[in-house]
């Protein structure tokens, strides 16, 4: 087991390296840099540009060096906890990102739990009552969730939550808590607002999960050992719970790997619409103003979050299913 975990962690390293190179390339692609757009903006407003300070910053952050060198500088910083400097906020990236990253993790985590709670019973019901009206209508509702654009659902739910429950519009907490340190009242306020993004983000993932769980369980239910169990007179409920469900549970854990990127993706768009204090709005601003270290480190954080999530799901899967850790290769 330990060896499996070790090998699995080792595979993460090249993955993250390629990811970082990819992200850095994308951030580098547009012509010009933050300072150019900053100077243009200042001049448009008729203000004077502090050339000396700009040149100092440029040199300080290596914008006079070739991109490859800067990439390694940026990458090297990661190992000592230096993620670069945000020009727009004039703060180290870690200070800008910290709190928001925590909220992103919170939203994603609650969303996954929510997705499970919804998808699990519905998937079981759909599989055991295949081609019944219940199956059709639940599948349809799931598909509807998949087909509705997240941002519109977010907008509608925000409006109706405000109409019916008086929840304040936008943000992940009531406005009075925005700049306050974490406290119990703030945490409560966060949880009061959390359900809207969770439902909105969860809907798209849920539909996919229901369909996959249904398909997997159906495959399992057609196998002969289920027929044998039934023929022996085992109670249908037990014949379902004891083995077929456990078999499809494996896949459930494995599914986190594919659901997690989707959830973090969805979280970004919804966060922008609801102006949540997560990563979305910040990311877009950083990308548009070419605040490259902020944007790059941000994308990198999201990627690391996903990779770690997938790692956890893989390890959990290896615990559940010995065949996985015993098979030598790392590829599926």
């Amino acid at each position: 087991m330990l060896r499996y975990i070790f090998r699995r962690v080792l595979i993460m390293i090249p993955t993250l390296l390629i990811t970082s190179a990819l992200i850095f390339t994308i951030i580098e692609l547009p012509p010009g840099d933050y300072f150019e757009s900053y100077v243009a903006e200042l001049q448009a407003q008729g203000e004077k540009v502090d050339e000396e300070r700009l040149n100092f910053l440029r040199e300080e952050y290596g914008f006079d060096k070739p991109p490859v060198e800067r990439y390694f500088q940026w990458l090297g910083g990661w190992f000592v906890g230096d993620f670069g400097y945000s020009f727009a906020y004039e703060l180290p990236v870690a200070d800008v990102v910290g709190d928001r990253l925590f909220l992103t993790i919170l939203v994603s985590f609650v969303t996954i739990i929510f997705t499970w709670l919804i998808a699990f019973p519905i998937g079981i019901y759909s599989a055991t009552h295949q081609y019944s009206w219940g199956d059709y209508s639940l599948t349809f509702v799931g598909l509807l969730g998949l087909a509705t654009p997240n941002f519109l659902l977010a907008l509608l739910m925000m409006y109706f939550a405000n109409r019916w429950f008086g929840t304040s519009i936008g943000h992940l907490m009531a406005p009075e808590f925005l700049d306050q340190p974490m406290s119990w009242a703030k945490l409560r306020s966060i949880f009061e607002h959390l359900w809207i993004p969770v439902i909105v983000i969860g809907t798209s993932g849920t539909a996919g999960m229901i369909r996959r769980l249904r398909a997997n369980l159906l495959d399992e239910l057609q196998k002969q050992y289920v027929t044998t169990a039934r023929a022996k007179g085992l109670h249908p409920f037990k014949a379902l719970m004891k083995y077929p469900l456990r078999m499809s549970l494996n896949f459930f854990i494995a599914d986190i790997g594919s659901v997690l990127p989707q959830i973090i993706s969805g979280a970004e768009v919804v966060a922008i619409v609801l102006s949540l204090e997560t990563t979305g709005p910040l990311l877009i601003n950083a990308l548009q103003s070419q605040d490259m270290y902020l944007a790059g480190s941000f994308l990198m954080f999201l990627a690391i979050l996903t990779v770690i999530g997938v790692l956890i799901s893989d390890i959990a899967l290896a615990f559940l299913d010995p065949r996985i850790r015993l098979s030598g290769g790392s590829t599926k």
């Binding site: 951030i27 989707q262 990311l283 994308l299």
Partner: protein, 391 residues
């Protein structure tokens, strides 16, 4: 016991049937069976697909939408950018058939406009006295079909001097129905073009990985894993945000399709790879190799046709993701820009919470989005079942 068995020395009489014997009569097929056994694979797939009624209807529905998109100029009552400044934020007008108990054909009620001086809200009230019967195949605003066929005939329009807004108007007084119809052009094609790009990439990259195996396969596998592990929307955002503002809307359109396609090929490449890994061991591949066929010929001519139907089904299922992706990008202002009009661009108007409260009809473009995505999903399901007709 012993008297029942024949005496050992006496052999049984040997029976020979003199009737002519045709061995094929035993396994004779009825004409219906023969049709099935002789049918080509594509024919079998078609039969199997036809049995999936929902998928067939979704296919018909999508076909209808493409028809609408092609003949948008004729079907839309107004042009894309025709403004009606006297009816800004006009609510939708319903079609009626009976006026005060008598049949009048399809018509709409006109409305009276009043500016509410308290909150400066434009208020339109239906006036049941104004009956505006719709005209069909009528002459109205001139247009140029596909940019070169001049015409002025529309499917339906309001009576002379009146207006009809079945789905209301937006903040500039533009007819929503016409805009949705024109938006279908971009929204429907962007998925197809994007899928074409990801299809090409998926087949080429997956094909090479699957056929060569070894280190090529290894690298491709890693790259696919990396791309799949990055959350796609932030990456789309990043790619869309770096597009220079100076690009013309048309270039932006193609750039968006390329972005959508660039990140979507991984699933397809995986499918191609795993199929190829299995198929390349077949004898007919060895035969082709021995006869000196080139790699690209073996992949393209012998291997791909073996599972192209699966690929088409997979591609169909990935179209909805593209349409949703475009909608989300445009909604956030990072995708297409006016004057290019897609459903996502139309929905940017509905970005504001005021719209939900005051002008909910501006959210109507979401209806075709949902319908198209559902239709593609069901169609894809049907195609996937049909792709394996022997099952």
């Amino acid at each position: 016991m012993s008297e029942l068995t024949p005496p050992a020395a006496k052999a049984l009489p040997h029976f020979v049937n003199t009737a002519p014997f045709d061995p094929r009569t035993i396994e004779a097929l009825t004409p219906a069976q023969e049709r099935i056994y002789l049918a080509s694979q594509w024919q079998l797939m078609w039969w199997k697909f036809k049995r999936h009624k929902v998928a067939v209807w979704c296919g018909v529905f999508l076909g209808f939408l493409f028809f609408v998109a092609i003949f948008a100029e004729f079907l839309a009552p107004y042009k894309l950018d025709s403004r009606h400044i006297e009816s800004i934020y006009h609510p939708p007008q319903g079609i009626h058939f009976f006026h005060e108990g008598s049949f009048r054909g399809p018509f709409v009620y006109g409305s009276d406009y009043k500016l509410n001086m308290d909150n400066l809200k434009r208020e339109y009230t239906l006036n049941p006295q104004k009956v505006h019967p719709l005209r069909f195949f009528c002459t109205a605003e001139p247009y140029e079909m596909w940019g070169f066929i001049a015409g002025s005939t529309h499917l339906f329009c309001a009576p002379e001097g009146e207006t009809v807004f079945l789905l209301g108007t937006d903040r500039l007084g533009r007819d929503m129905l016409s805009r949705i119809i024109f938006g279908a052009r971009v929204s429907l094609t962007i998925g197809l073009v994007g899928v074409a790009i990801s299809f090409t990439l998926g087949i080429i990259i997956g094909g090479l990985a699957g056929y060569y195996g070894g280190w090529v396969d290894m690298i491709v596998q890693r790259v696919i894993e990396v791309i799949q592990s990055i959350p796609s929307i932030p990456l789309w955002l990043a790619l869309a945000a770096i597009m220079p503002v100076t690009w013309s809307p048309l270039v932006v359109y193609f750039a968006i399709t390329v972005i959508l396609g660039l990140l979507d090929w991984t699933g397809l490449a995986r499918a191609v790879r795993s199929k190829l890994l299995a198929l390349r061991e077949e004898d007919y591949v060895l035969a082709a190799q021995l006869m000196g066929a080139s790699t690209s010929r073996i992949i393209g001519r012998h291997l791909i046709p073996g599972f192209i139907s699966h690929l088409i089904a997979t591609a169909t299922i990935s179209i909805p993701t593209m349409i949703l992706g475009e909608t989300a990008l445009s909604f956030l202002g990072l995708g297409l820009r006016p004057p290019v009009t897609s459903w996502g661009v139309l929905l940017t108007e509905a970005q504001n919470i005021n719209v939900v409260a005051l002008y909910p009809w501006l959210m109507l473009p979401v209806v075709p989005v949902i319908l198209v995505i559902l239709a593609y999903n069901f169609l894809g399901d049907g195609l996937r079942d049909a792709a394996d007709p022997y099952k």
